[in-house]
């Protein structure tokens, strides 16, 4: 085990780096798409049921199938990391649209009414009242999406791009346990670290949400 780490640490670190990028980039893209879509679904309630159905269907597509089909749709190489990024972005959007809608719905109507009555315009209301109050709910969804992405990236290894997942395929092919254990431990650690980072961000962003119960 130590022997493996001593000789292969550059490769392991490279796999870890790729894993972080492949897991996080889709979270950022997914959030950027889910925020406006979720806002629209919040503003125009009739959009919400169809959007929810589409998200659920998308989320139900098996990840391996999506990794295989995407190159055909996008015209990319099978080994292109873009496939993984697009696929995971789709999952993230599917998860977060609902979260954004729920978050905006968690803003008490009395608060939005009062904010409007003291002179907020619609954009200011969204950016300075509704979104900040929705942050705890949105970040809760973001934690799920992030951890789930960390785990899904590994599946990409079956296609040859999978960050830490490459360690699993490597171990399996060589019938060698060390890379597999390293991959599992690093995946779990990565998920834990990213999760705590989001929790930390939430503590900084929403000091008000922890004072409710005296």
């Amino acid at each position: 085990m130590l022997q493996y780490l001593r000789t292969s640490s550059p490769a392991v670190l490279a796999a870890l780096g790729q894993h972080v990028v492949l897991a996080l980039l889709p979270v950022l893209i997914g959030l950027a798409v889910a925020l406006p879509v979720g806002y629209l679904a919040h503003r125009f309630r009739w959009l919400y049921p169809p959007l929810l159905t589409i998200s659920s269907v998308l989320y139900a597509v098996p990840s391996l199938a999506l990794f295989v089909v995407l190159p055909v749709i996008l015209g990319t190489q099978t080994l292109d990391p873009l496939n993984i990024v697009v696929a995971l972005s789709v999952y993230t959007v599917a998860l977060l649209v609902r979260t954004v809608v729920d978050g905006l719905a968690s803003v008490p109507p009395a608060v939005t009414a009062a904010a409007t009555a003291v002179g907020f315009r619609p954009l200011g209301l969204l950016l300075r009242v509704e979104l900040p109050i929705a942050v705890p709910v949105i970040l809760a969804g973001l934690r799920v999406a992030t951890v789930s992405n960390v785990s899904l990236v590994s599946v990409g290894a079956l296609l040859g791009v999978g960050g830490l997942g490459a360690l699993f395929t490597d171990g399996l092919q060589r019938d060698y346990l060390a890379p597999i254990i390293t991959g599992i431990v690093l995946s779990v650690l990565l998920a834990l670290v990213l999760d705590s980072v989001i929790v930390g961000v939430q503590r900084v962003l929403t000091p008000w949400s922890r004072v409710g119960e005296r």
């Binding site: 008490p108 009395a110 608060v111 009414a113 009062a114 904010a115 409007t116 009555a117 003291v118 002179g119 907020f120 315009r121 200011g124 009242v129 900040p132 109050i133 929403t206 000091p207 008000w208 949400s209 004072v211 409710g212 005296r214």
Partner: protein, 348 residues
């Protein structure tokens, strides 16, 4: 200052909330909109800052039609206080108070120092500035709501059932402080309540709304109690309006008997060596002045004096001067006779 001219509000479902309302709100005064639920009082209030837009007719604020103004700008110029306080849960108390100054683009320092001044003015310690609304009681949140409405110094304030969610003791306290603030500030205030006692206590003018946004009567509180325009108003102001109305009349012209005048009672007024009343006594039984009714001055209302005569064992209220020295007594018969000479009653 605020004028409704033939204003009607018909909602898309066909409900007419306000029907042909014409009303002037005098400058620098509190005009109370009072009435049962569904009478259109809140809808009328919300048409002043365009939270509701009239179907027809005109609402003028400082001479300008509200429909010709940018809604956000209009609202920033009008203080707004609502029942649940409606504070922003993610902002501290000081930032909540400074909401409108921030929206108006004041620099942060000036906005905050104004907010801190107001915090003190509404009776909250400066230490509360950094707290969040969830850390305050309902009454404290309501004070912050009032401070927020005042922050940008608007000449007009809209106040919608601000004290109905707090207990009776805190409510009475907040009402008294509200009146004290208004004495200093002289804002033009539209105040909505369903509580006729609150209306009569706070209003310079009371507009009684009937179902469907019809005005039943617009009058001073005393006149409303003395001369309800119709059965609806009489019913709404309640059965004890005669007694409540005495709350508006000072005891300054009430004739009194000398303290040592003979009375049809065995109770004797005990005075200390300076002539200040200590209590009542009868055949060795004594009652202190506190338990035996108490005393009044010419600054008290006839309602207070009448109440004193009912709680005093001798059936007599004792008037004192500014040094607390007894200078006269009065019984209920004398109060009744005094009310008989009432100019309002005589006029009708």
């Amino acid at each position: 200052m605020i004028t409704f001219t033939a204003v009607t509000k018909r909602f898309p479902d066909g409900t007419v909330a306000v029907d042909d309302l014409t009303l002037d709100l005098p400058e620098g005064k509190i005009t109370v909109f009072v009435g049962p639920s569904g009478c259109g009082k809140t809808t009328s209030l919300r048409m002043i800052n365009r939270m509701v837009e009239p179907t027809s007719g005109q609402v003028l604020v400082q001479g300008r039609d509200v429909m010709e103004q940018d809604p956000a700008e209009l609202r920033r110029g009008i203080g707004y206080v609502i029942q649940t306080a409606g504070l922003l849960p993610h902002r501290t108390v000081v930032d909540n108070i400074a909401t409108v100054p921030y929206l108006l683009g004041w620099d942060k320092k000036r906005a905050r120092s104004t907010a801190l001044e107001l915090l003190e003015r509404v009776g909250l310690p400066a230490a509360y500035a950094k707290r969040y609304p969830a850390q305050l009681s309902g009454g404290q949140q309501q004070r912050v709501g009032v401070a927020r409405a005042l922050a940008a110094g608007p000449p007009i304030m809209l106040v919608d059932e601000p004290f109905s969610a707090v207990g009776p003791v805190v409510r009475a306290q907040l009402q008294a402080e509200f009146l004290r603030l208004q004495q200093d500030l002289g804002k033009t205030i539209a105040f909505v309540t369903h509580d006729i006692d609150e209306a009569v206590k706070l209003g310079d003018v009371v507009a009684v709304f009937h179902q469907g946004g019809h005005l039943a009567q617009v009058d001073t509180p005393e006149q409303l109690l003395a001369a309800p325009a119709n059965d609806f108003v009489a019913d709404f102001v309640g059965r004890d309006r005669g007694i409540r109305r005495l709350g508006f009349r000072l005891a300054d012209s009430l004739p009194v008997q000398p303290v040592d005048a003979p009375r049809d009672s065995e109770w004797v007024l005990d005075l200390d060596d300076r002539g200040r009343p200590r209590g009542w006594s009868r055949r060795g039984v004594t009652a202190s002045m506190q338990s035996g009714g108490g005393t009044f001055t010419t600054a008290d209302s006839l309602r207070t004096v009448l109440d004193l005569t009912l709680t005093s064992p001798a059936g007599v209220a004792v008037r004192v001067d500014q040094h607390g020295v007894a200078d006269g007594t009065v019984d209920h018969a004398a109060i009744a006779a005094h009310i008989q000479d009432d100019p309002i009653r005589a006029a009708r």
